[in-house]
Symmetry: C2
Subunit: 533 residues, 2 copies
């Protein structure tokens, strides 16, 4: 067979050729812009020329602070196609983490949306290696600094020579870099290569995963600064699907407007975003919508059911990590269970689902033996495959995140049923040991969330003299609810073992989140160890 | 990213695990057998042990003469997973070609269906390298020779030690070998590696190609002895689709029965098979059928329309070659043409379609310049990609089938429209030059085939004193038709330029075919150069 690398220049053939008439739209505040893939292909070649003009070395890291936009998409191609590494950075991280990440990656240049300048520019003198900062002007925002290091994106590409040929013979060349959100310890970088990005995009085109096709209008609400927006921009360019990018119009009502106006068929977001968007989707014309995927945390069946009833499409689940490109599991209904009733269908769609074809899963007990895939036995979920990280960027010396035989340790405790359907039981560090027996904080949260009066729940273990640990539940009621700890305990009777029912239930207006929008159990634990003020 | 090869042992995870309950059925004459993937996984491991027991060296060629059956599927996995090469052989070739192919490949061992023994055994002493012949007993058939070289498949695997682990670190290891049908010169071998087979199977799972999914029942009518049955067995094992294998029950009425009885959702065959099967599908219950693919030659719109009207599913086209794994193009309706009427939809589905994601196409003029993809300009279709051959087996010294820059020359003349849709205009060697202008034999055949009274047509060029060449048409009428050369010429008026209309039209009962069922223009040309007898 011909020796043709699985590398991103392969995608240029489609976007400059057979998909050149298809469009990418970016939502701004109050208006949107549209370009064809053909036009974007030309801009990618000019941007590539601009990177050469800035004398950015091969394998150098090109940092980006950006919303989901056409320019960010251009960086997604121009940077790796010229043998440089696109390092996307979450601008919602704490300043110290941002400074740490930029310095750990040794970014040579930063591309920054104007609206994010107020986060980035104040840190400029803490960045040890950054030589240039290119502003992507996305409309009214902070003043653009008058500084020799600062360039304008559009001026730069207008002046650049387009690069005619992208030459990347080695598919294992690094293409993109993303740091984990760092719930434990310092953020760690995950380096994706051309091969893994191409294989991952192929996976998203499969009927049993996301089924992305030429007829789709794909809306990645998941950010392009995190795990390549789940690879959706690359899958869209590979398939010829149109892209509807939300830009910084990320308010729930704006997202709902974009879904309707762009005639979106497929969208992906974390469940907290979907919860916010739901009321704004009601009454809209959504005839093209076929699939709404939720990831980044457990998907409550109650929320999926509300989407099914009120929007006509249930939310379906997927599962992955920064270290896994990210898609590992995508939920679906097994073909031998066509007669499931609505409740069972939705419960099934809220599980992570079975693994994608190239990825292998196993469950490991603490003693190193493997657990059977019988839907009952649980163990740490471990993952292997060509789209799964084998180490962390710059830290190749035996991280505890990898087993001796090279599998990724996810830190999740799971069961896998005989059909391959994964159920996350808990994080290894979130299991609660009470009276010598394990309580799953995730199962307890799910039981609490079956109440329609509760919008969010989080359970952690607290030290207890007699039992070792006891569960403590934090609960956010839906608007107008009058729930009490006692009514919640009553609701839980019969749903779970009585000794699992928390003695202490705290009702809050909001549960603290990480910068990526996940519930921060770290913050909750700090809360209980700090003296009351 | 982890260094995990794209190799066939990857598929064992699915067939022994999450798809172990899914089934593979094989049709025999009058009955069928069924096994689960779980059972087949065990048999693959035993067969692998039997190959070790026979001391077949690594990289040795293991020849197979077999119908589409479960045992052939077991060979598809056990041979390449143990670092040997499965060499599938078309038993319908002429004896001399079979002997040439087995000797050119230097097959070490042959696996032969009992029903094919009468083709293979008489040649045994002409095979220079074959040490063993393993009979796969598929029911009543020729006497099994009493010879020390002959073994029984079931006895062999019953006695074998199952192989516990398949270790194939290099994805470029050769996995399978198939010879072209050799319409010009000697048959030439195409060697597929693990990487190309895995990538090709991934492609078949994509929504815009064949969309093979876990919910499918896939019936490869295209033979497993030719181009891996278009990769469908591997795609089924990757996705968990059930397989319905027709065995030697290849008569049209038997195929139609299997399609109904196995509740087939997806089937693939050449158009001549589909033409024969059509009358036998009428009146059957086919509620699950979703897609019928035709390949291996032009698909007449009239036939596709008959399927649409009488079976409820139009035939759709695909295009490829032995050298291309084979899928290069798969037809579909572009998303921006949803309002096509039925005629235009079916005409579109009868084109080869646009290329699959990893494969690049170009059109080259005779002078080496490239033709634009404007749907008008034509040139030789050339193909590049990781699932496309770069040379022939044992003949790496610059075949004329490859360009200097490594693209495959298909020998087809084509146009490509701006959306990437390919239209095959002719074979380079089948163009007819008449009065200094080109006549496309394919377009002329298509024009003749628009008559509902004609079931087959073939056009070749014949020498002509005045015009250089003139077209000569061979035509097979449908049963009961009274067509004449004159009525055909009348039909052609207005459909094509008048000077394209053949002066000579011969009406035959049958057009000669190659052993793979394609129209043999070589035989037709020999017919006109031989004196009438």
């Amino acid at each position: 067979m011909q020796d043709r690398p699985l590398s991103l220049p392969l995608l240029m053939d489609g976007i400059e050729g057979r998909f050149s008439h298809k469009t990418v739209s970016t939502q701004h505040i109050g208006f949107h812009t549209t370009a064809t893939y053909g036009e974007i292909g030309q801009r990618i070649r000019r941007l590539a020329g601009a990177l050469d003009h800035l004398r950015i070395p091969h394998s150098a890291r090109v940092g980006s602070f950006g919303w989901n936009s056409q320019r960010h998409l251009e960086l997604y191609m121009a940077v790796p196609c010229t043998n440089r590494i696109l390092h996307t950075i979450n601008h919602r991280l704490f300043a110290d983490d941002i400074a740490y990440i930029v310095n750990d990656a040794e970014d040579d240049v930063l591309f920054v949306d104007r609206s994010i300048l107020d986060v980035v520019w104040p840190l400029i003198d803490r960045f040890d290696t950054v030589r240039h900062l290119i502003v992507m002007d996305d409309g009214p925002g902070p003043q653009i600094p008058n500084d020799p290091r600062v360039h304008d994106y559009e001026e730069l590409i207008a002046a650049a020579q387009p690069v005619a040929t992208f030459d990347l013979p080695d598919e294992r060349t690094a293409a993109a870099l993303c740091y984990t959100s760092g719930t434990t310890g310092r953020p760690k970088g995950v380096l994706y290569d051309h091969r893994s990005i191409v294989l991952h995009a192929m996976t998203l085109l499969m009927t049993d995963t996301f089924a992305i096709s030429e007829s789709d209008v794909v809306m990645p609400i998941v950010p392009m600064f995190h795990v390549n927006a789940w690879g959706l921009p690359y899958a869209a360019m590979m398939s010829g699907a149109r892209l509807a990018l939300p830009g910084r119009a990320m308010q729930p009502t704006q997202l709902a407007e974009t879904i309707e106006a762009a005639r979106v068929t497929f969208a992906a977001a974390v469940s907290t975003i979907w919860r916010g968007v739901l009321p704004h989707l009601q009454g809209r014309q959504l005839p093209t919508l076929r699939r709404l995927v939720s990831g980044g945390g457990p998907l409550p069946a109650s929320l999926s059911r509300q989407y099914d009833e009120q929007v006509g499409v249930p939310l379906s689940s997927s599962w992955g990590m920064t270290e896994t490109s990210p898609l590992v599991c995508s939920s679906r209904i097994p073909s031998d269970q066509p007669a499931l009733d609505t409740t069972d269908r939705i419960d099934t769609l809220c599980l992570p689902g079975p693994p994608v074809p190239l990825t292998a899963l196993r469950l490991q007990h603490e003693d190193g033996t493997l657990a059977p895939h019988d839907g009952v036995a649980s163990g740490e979920l471990q993952v292997a495959g060509p789209t799964i990280a084998g180490d962390y960027y710059g830290h190749t010396d035996g991280s505890t995140a990898f087993t001796d035989d090279g599998w990724l340790r996810t830190g999740d405790v799971a069961t896998i049923d005989p059909r391959g359907f994964v159920r996350i039981v808990d994080r290894t560090k979130d299991l609660i040991k009470s009276g010598g027996e394990w309580i799953s904080s995730v199962e307890l949260e799910n039981a609490i969330m079956t109440s329609p009066e509760i919008s969010e729940a989080a359970v952690i273990g607290t030290p207890h003299d007699k039992w070792g640990e006891r569960p403590l539940a934090y609960v956010v009621p839906v608007d107008g609810s009058k729930i009490t700890p006692e009514s919640i305990r009553t609701h839980l009777h019969g749903l779970i073992a009585n000794w699992w029912i928390p003695d202490e239930i705290l009702i809050l207006d909001e549960i603290p989140k990480t910068p990526t929008g996940k519930i921060s159990k770290l913050a909750l634990r700090q809360h209980i160890t700090e003296p009351a003020t």
